[in-house]
Amino acid sequence: MITSIIPLTACEDVPDYKVQSEPVIEAYLYEGDPVDDIILKKSSLYNEEDNDQTTYLTNANVHIILDSESYELSMMPGEAGRYEYTGDDLTIKIGETYRIEFEHEGETVHAETTIPPLPENGNISHDEIYIPLIDTPSELRDFTESFQETIDITWNNENDDYHYLLIENIEANPEPINQLEALAGIGENFEYVSSPTQSNIFSLRATVHYNQFGLHRVTLFHVNEEYAQLYETTSQDSRDLYEPFTNVKNGLGIFTGFSSVTFYFEVLKK
């Protein structure tokens, strides 16, 4: 009996609970680019003062590890918490698995990601489209009811991988298609970001995915599931709390890689 009681004094391996802020990684690796988009910060606690200010982790000893090679990052001058690799011997390559790692309060915070292949066989259905200028409400109604032409971006996606698209107007002085809403964003380049999709086609519709005349750039990103998961977690509601997605061990946030292809199309006045 005595021997059976003794184990109770030593509890199971349940760690002691501590309310403490956790390290957060916000790091993106782009195929073909240098490593310069690594941000380290800390979560803020509700019961501490100034919790609306982001606390960055400065002077962290951060490494990107590829195979057995370790590349030490340094903090970018004037940008607290943002790190880069200043050497020229590290280029992000498709198919390689990278690990980020640093020590924080006695624990190794780390995450891994593999750079996905370029979107396969990406194609744009046509590189120009004619759109009428919309000046009156009746023209707008006619346009929305009758204009069905789309620009289709297609790619091969047998494995149902995640992709998303960024559509940007790259004119110096873009002119709105719909003059009725011209004042709203005058002079600004329209930009549309799709949510991650497992499809193999994305149809660009006028006034939805682009609403200005001129040259547009479409970037088709091939992303990992971890990014898609985090993206979807943005719908987290404070009244229905759950832990946001993270692929970081001993921390929070995201470390993920991308590859992309680019297309261009021009919107012309009919």
Binding site: M1, N47, E225, S238, L241, Y242, P244
Partner: protein, 832 residues
Amino acid sequence: MKSPKIPGYLDFFRSKSILSIYMKKTAILFCFIFMGFYAHSLELKRLFNQSGSPEKITISGIVKDLATGETLPFANVFVVGTNNGTTTNIDGYFTLFDVPVENTSIRVKYIGYEAKTIKVASTMANTNIEIFLTPTTEQLDEVVLSAETEQQVVRFNKKVSQVALSPKELASIPNLGEKDIFRALQLLPGVSGTNESSAGLYVRGGTPDQNLILLDGFTVYHVDHFYGFFSAFNSEALKDIQLYKGGFPAEFGGRISSIMELTGKTGNNNKFTLSAGASLLSANIAMEIPLGKKANLLIAGRRSYTDIIQSGLYQDIFDLYNDDSSFGSDDQNMGGDFQNQRNETEPTFHFYDLNAKLSYRPSDQDIISLSLYNGEDNLDNSRESQNTFGQDNEGSVDTNISDVLNWGNLGSSLRWARKWNEKLYTKTIVAYSNYFSKRDRLSDVTVQRTDSTTNSVLGIIEDNELKDLTARLHAEYQINSDHMLEFGGQYTSNQVKYDYIMNDSLEIITRDNDGNLASLFVQDNWSATSKLDLLGGIRVSHFDITEEIYYEPRISGTYQLSDEIKLKAAWGKYYQFVNRIVREDVTQGSRDFWLLANDETNPISSSEHRIFGISYENDGWLLDVEYFEKDMTGLSEFSLRFQSALRSGSDDQYFFEGTGIARGVEFLLQKKVGAYTGWLGYTLSEVVHTFPDISDNPYYALHDQRHELKWVNMLKIGKWDLGATWVYGSGKPYTAPDGEYTITLLDGTTYEYVSVGDKNGLRLPPYHRLDLSATYSFKLGGGTGNAGLSLFNLYNRTNIWYKEFEVVEDNVIETNVNYIGFTPSIFFNVKF
């Protein structure tokens, strides 16, 4: 491809862990002891029969209540001055072998009744004798209370981890106006006494769903009324309660923690009886109607009226003691400029239940009964609150939550029991049970800033229904005075539906499953020697969803070291095929629902019990210590916290499988007889769950409680019954949001995420409360009555049930949902 499943018992024998090796040795030792003593007893019996002996007879009969003619289950019948004894079965029948005729008496004892001694005569052989016991509560005049008067509310130490409770004696336990079986059971060591809101009993680290509740043979899936303040069972309709806290025998199956077997009253055979009672919260009425000489009908009903009489004494007192903890915030800042405000809420409720039982005795050997139970609860947890934020309180958050739940159980059984002869008894049951639970919650939040107003509405609908159709056969064959063989089978067909819908359209879960379970069991109650009793058996089940066969070997035994000291041990394997899933909800408190196990999303649960104990008992006192350890596998939890954000249409992602271990030591000191009775119980225990997909580390289960102390005092002075109970439990775990962080996605948008703290990493404050009661019994015309006062939570301790959180504008609004504060109650009962 699924790998072939190795039966659990083989896992155990193949395992190389120290614990398993230890248990392996224990099990093998049990087997050797069992086989060795079996051979030894047969040999002794052979030698004894050869040598000749004085005339001995077999006495067979039935034990009944003198006043009502009701049969009394689980009464002790034994030959005075010997260890030769037995227990009546659930229908009151017993058979006592090898009773010497010369100068011998048999004694019958049953809690709540005067013990009776009968001189043995040779004419008793081969006839069915009837023994009538006088209930102690019928005696309103002052009686001499002695060891012979079994007036205890509970009786421990009969078998390993088994406790008997007398519904007749419950008046001595403080309550909230109703005699309550769960309130009494929660005062036992090993049964959590700090769950006013429990959906049943948390027994030795198990959850209520792991506790099989049988009422006249049908399973009851939801067993309490609101807050757990009342059990769903009307004690006026019950005759006997047996609780097996662990190590239970093979005749019971389908649960991995504990068994509660309730036997309904058959009613008064001799005269029409009407009883009625009322408290500040509810009223009850019961009728016992004889129908000729062979049949009778019992009808008992209860309903609370707190929803109707809002301005009554109860409400006045309730408001008086809870005015500072109702709606609104108490502005408790948690540091800095942040107004982490706390709101309090008290739900309103009403419930009803109905018991009916028709009994028919076509012969002395047969009992046929039709039993019906229907109970339902309605809980309205709706509330409004207003909180402010900003340096000058310029912003406000208006929260309007409509939250309505209703749940209940409908159950029925048709039962035929027959004592074929002095050796063979059978009971056949066909039973139906239907559990339902529905929750409709709509949250409407308006955030008002100096320059804008935003409004959001979030709705949740949960609908759970479980149907259980069971046929069961149980046979008892009394081979001789040393062996009683029990065997039987059971077939259960379950249908379980569960819908969980958010915002009227998003179906988080929709389930509609059928499952069939077929089981056989055999067990032997073996008096191996005059000091050693063993109960060994095995249960074999087939579950059609998994197409697997499950083996559940079990053994328990007691060894009488001396007249007072008894050693006890039990070991067993248990499986469960319908599970209650805990739906973790950090913001709104965790809820639960029933689902059929399928070994894919919510697995078959299993457990292995190991129990060792020692007790010292004399006529007046009992000191009992039991160590228990329960390994559990196939535990399920459901959470939205960890859902895959990419909704694939499958709800599998919301279920998590884990394991658990519960272990602890129970100490009990009981004063059994005299004007003052009671007990002091202490449990030291821990319940640790391991769910790898929820937490990197093991964590304490929601119902983990390190220390629990219960002090129960009952004093009988003349016509007065006085009671005082004090319960203390260390704080239980909970999970809370602890911070936030931002991530800028590739499109340049910065999102704010809430970081949820370690799973169950925080502890609520300790729970404790003192209850008092005083009951006065009297004669009223041709009947009897009692009236009394009960003071619940006398010193108005604010015990927290759970916490709700809302995160708005960088603030955490924390709401404590509390248990009920000081609540006095008066009650009045009459019986004619």
